[in-house]
């Protein structure tokens, strides 16, 4: 713990992150504390395991997809800059009013970039298209395994809870692959405009044009 003082952020770094992400000085120092407390290996980067140690994230059905958003293609570690760049997508948009600079590139928390974050959660193979298969897989993540499959798996692993599992089978919700399949078909049908049976980013934006993205994909800071 005594070594923390030596890993304080340098003033120049804070300025750079401020310019790139739009976070304020105190927000950056607070998030840096958070970053260092998650970094159990104390090597200045976070791995996927560091994220999975957060219980509330581990129980999120799309937890793994969200963790993936922090890691660029093929990488296993994310440093503080990358961490902040991803978190910046969730800054509220009103905060941008103060720094209106017409020549600057689009801020990370613009409506389009927030939608891009969500789009990438669906686009498993990063080919800029959401195919029927990818949609099905994400749907399956959100509703959980078919009840019977999960019970069988659990029975194979540990038998003590057998009775309570059986009871739960009777009250649980079971969504079959066919049901999910028809949901996926309907969704693609409504969104697809160029007939390629998948959803591109522009089609995605069109489908969600009325949704209040600015509010639903923003996290309010207390300071």
């Amino acid at each position: 713990m005594g070594s923390r003082a030596s890993t304080l952020l340098r003033e120049e770094e804070i300025e750079e992150i401020k310019k790139e992400t739009g976070f304020s000085h105190s927000q950056i120092t607070r998030l840096y504390s958070r970053f260092t407390s998650l970094d159990k290996g104390e090597n200045g980067t976070l791995s996927r395991e560091d994220f999975q140690r957060i219980p509330e994230l581990a129980i999120n059905p799309l937890g793994d997809r969200i963790i993936n958003a922090f890691f660029p293609e093929g990488e296993d570690q994310v440093n503080f800059r990358g961490f902040m760049r991803t978190l910046a997508h969730f800054r509220p948009i009103e905060d941008n009013e103060k720094n209106k600079d017409p020549t600057a590139s689009e801020p990370l928390n613009s409506r389009t970039n927030k939608l891009l974050f969500a789009f990438r959660l669906y686009d498993l193979d990063r080919d800029d298209k959401i195919s029927r298969d990818e949609l099905l897989q994400v749907l399956r993540m959100m509703v959980g395994l078919n009840m019977f499959v999960s019970q069988v798996l659990r029975m194979m692993v540990g038998l003590n809870m057998f009775v309570s599992q059986v009871l739960r089978m009777m009250v649980g919700v079971n969504i079959s692959d066919e049901q999910l399949g028809s949901i996926a078909d309907r969704t693609i049908q409504e969104a697809d405009q160029n007939g390629d049976n998948s959803i591109s980013f522009n089609e995605f934006i069109k489908v969600l044009e009325k949704v209040d993205v600015e509010q639903k994909m923003s996290i309010r800071f207390l300071h």
């Binding site: 713990m1 923390r4 003082a5 304080l8 952020l9 003033e11 804070i14 105190s26 927000q27 120092t29 607070r30 998030l31 504390s33 958070r34 407390s37 994220f51 999975q52 140690r53 957060i54 219980p55 509330e56 994230l57 581990a58 129980i59 999120n60 059905p61 799309l62 937890g63 969200i66 978190l87 969730f90 974050f117 969500a118 959660l121 669906y122 994400v138 749907l139 959100m142 509703v143 959980g144 999960s150 649980g172 919700v173 969504i175 049901q179 949901i183 309907r186 959803i199 969600l208 009325k210 949704v211 209040d212 993205v213 639903k216 923003s218 996290i219 309010r220 800071f221 207390l222 300071h223």
Partner: protein
């Protein structure tokens, strides 16, 4: 003449000085610390000590803040304060809201799935990355003001000469004076405990033995309390646990045991260790019945429950002391209580323990420090200050199962101690969260998809 010159007068002087200082030292120790411990009285020295220290800490903090502002250094902010505002809305409410805002259809035909549903999980996930309720409970609480211990400060750089001198003085006092004093006391306390309980063990069972055992235990724990310079305030002592009951408390460190046992007699529960701990445990059980388990027996829940209920039924035996969290938490929250002790069916006496971290953080981070280095840290802090509240006894009510009873007790303890009441398991310190929680979320979402299908088929 030659003989006279060989004899160095300074050696003699040195010996005399050493002799005198040792005598003075031990007399002071005896008069001010050990004798009061035996009789359970206090001179109030520790209270005065505490007040003086507080004033110094406030000055030190103000000095650091001023220094940081002058030099324009960023101050490390304690992150245990909330960073973000979390909406308490449920999964169902939020997803419906998102759908409503984006719907171009009329509201009667509710859709079963929208691509925007993912926003809910996105935001919740990123919120938990920025700030979650669990991971911060397993590391020591960060302080707003500095207490002159480098271990609890992240802003300490050379700000002013006066501050550094004060800190240096603090180091000298703590390690040069307080630490040796406390270590001596600790050895005295533990040594007396082992020796006296073994002697009492030879007496036949009866009233005399119990009486003496009580006195010996209390005296030795009080010496240990002084060995840590623990300043404890007991509240509501009329609710102190009685024979045949179970005392439950929130767990922050092994010191909890010493704190509670110096004010009342309990039967301890635990695993038999080897080494010094084992010696202490074996001699303690000679004087009065404690419940020690072999390592192999700990896993057998029925055996544990049986021994506990047998003990509780015998009204001559002391109340059992149990920490249902099962692990040390950092004293900002109370985590899930394991239901084992609440199934036994006797009266439960809840106790809330709240430490004041300004004088020395008592939380034992067992992944960071072993027991010995932890104790050394404790003995080289300024003091351990805490409050103990004895809550009114509780019993399991009609129609309440062990888990609900445990949660009720936990809520009472959390409320009294000003701690956050969490449902999460303290075992998450080391282990992974169970899949069942994720499945609950998935079930909730599934109901949203399927539920609307049923409406459709009806219409």
């Amino acid at each position: 003449m030659v003989l006279f010159l060989d004899f160095n007068p300074f050696d003699n002087l040195l010996c005399i000085l050493l002799g005198i200082s040792f005598t003075v030292w031990f007399t002071l120790l005896l008069v001010f610390i050990i004798v009061p411990a035996i009789f359970g009285v206090s001179f109030g020295i520790r209270q005065l000590y505490m007040k003086t220290l507080l004033k110094i800490f406030e000055w030190a903090t103000r000095r650091i803040e001023r220094g940081a502002k002058d030099k324009n250094h960023p101050l490390h902010k304690p992150y245990s304060n909330a960073i973000i505002a979390k909406e308490p809305t449920s999964l169902e409410e939020e997803i419906k809201e998102i759908r409503r805002s984006g719907s171009n259809r009329d509201l009667d035909s509710a859709s079963e799935f929208e691509m925007s549903d993912i926003f809910y999980f996105c935001r919740r996930g990123v919120e938990s990355i920025m700030d979650d309720e669990v991971t911060k409970r397993f590391s020591a609480e960060e302080l707003e003001s500095w207490n002159l211990l480098t271990r609890s400060n992240y802003n300490f750089q050379h700000i002013s000469l006066r501050l550094t001198v004060l800190w240096g003085l603090g180091v000298v006092i703590r390690y040069g004076f307080l630490l040796p004093l406390r270590v001596t006391l600790a050895f005295t306390g533990v040594g007396l405990l082992v020796v006296l309980t073994s002697i009492i063990g030879f007496l036949p069972n009866g009233r005399t033995k119990n009486f003496l055992s009580e006195k010996v235990h209390l005296m030795c724990y009080r010496i240990c309390v002084r060995a840590l310079t623990a300043i404890i305030t007991y509240h509501d002592s009329e609710n102190k646990p009685k024979n045949g009951g179970i005392c439950v408390a929130n767990h922050t460190s092994p010191i909890d045991v010493i704190i509670l046992a110096s004010d009342g007699c309990y039967a301890m529960v635990g695993q038999i260790h080897g080494g010094l701990m084992g010696v202490i445990q074996k001699s303690m059980v000679k004087a009065c019945p404690h419940i020690w388990f072999e390592r192999s027996e700990v896993k057998d829940r029925h055996l544990v429950a049986k021994r506990l209920s047998d003990h509780v039924e015998d009204k001559t035996k002391l109340p059992i002391l149990i920490f249902p969290e099962g692990t040390c938490i950092n004293n900002t929250s109370v985590m899930m209580f394991k239901k084992g002790s609440f199934e036994i069916g006797s009266t439960v006496y809840p106790v809330a323990i709240k430490y004041d971290p300004r004088f020395g953080d008592a939380f034992w981070n067992s992944s960071q420090f072993g027991m010995v280095s932890y104790l050394l840290r404790m003995m080289s802090s300024w003091a351990i200050v805490c409050s103990v509240w004895y809550l009114p006894p509780m019993s399991r009510e009609e129609g309440e199962d062990a888990v609900q009873f445990a949660n009720r007790v936990k809520a009472a303890i959390a409320r009294q101690g000003g701690l956050v009441d969490l449902l999460w398991d303290g075992g998450l310190k080391r282990g992974k969260v169970k899949d069942t929680f994720k499945e609950e979320q998935q079930k909730l979402y599934s109901k949203m998809l399927v539920g609307t299908q049923e409406d459709r088929s009806r219409s």
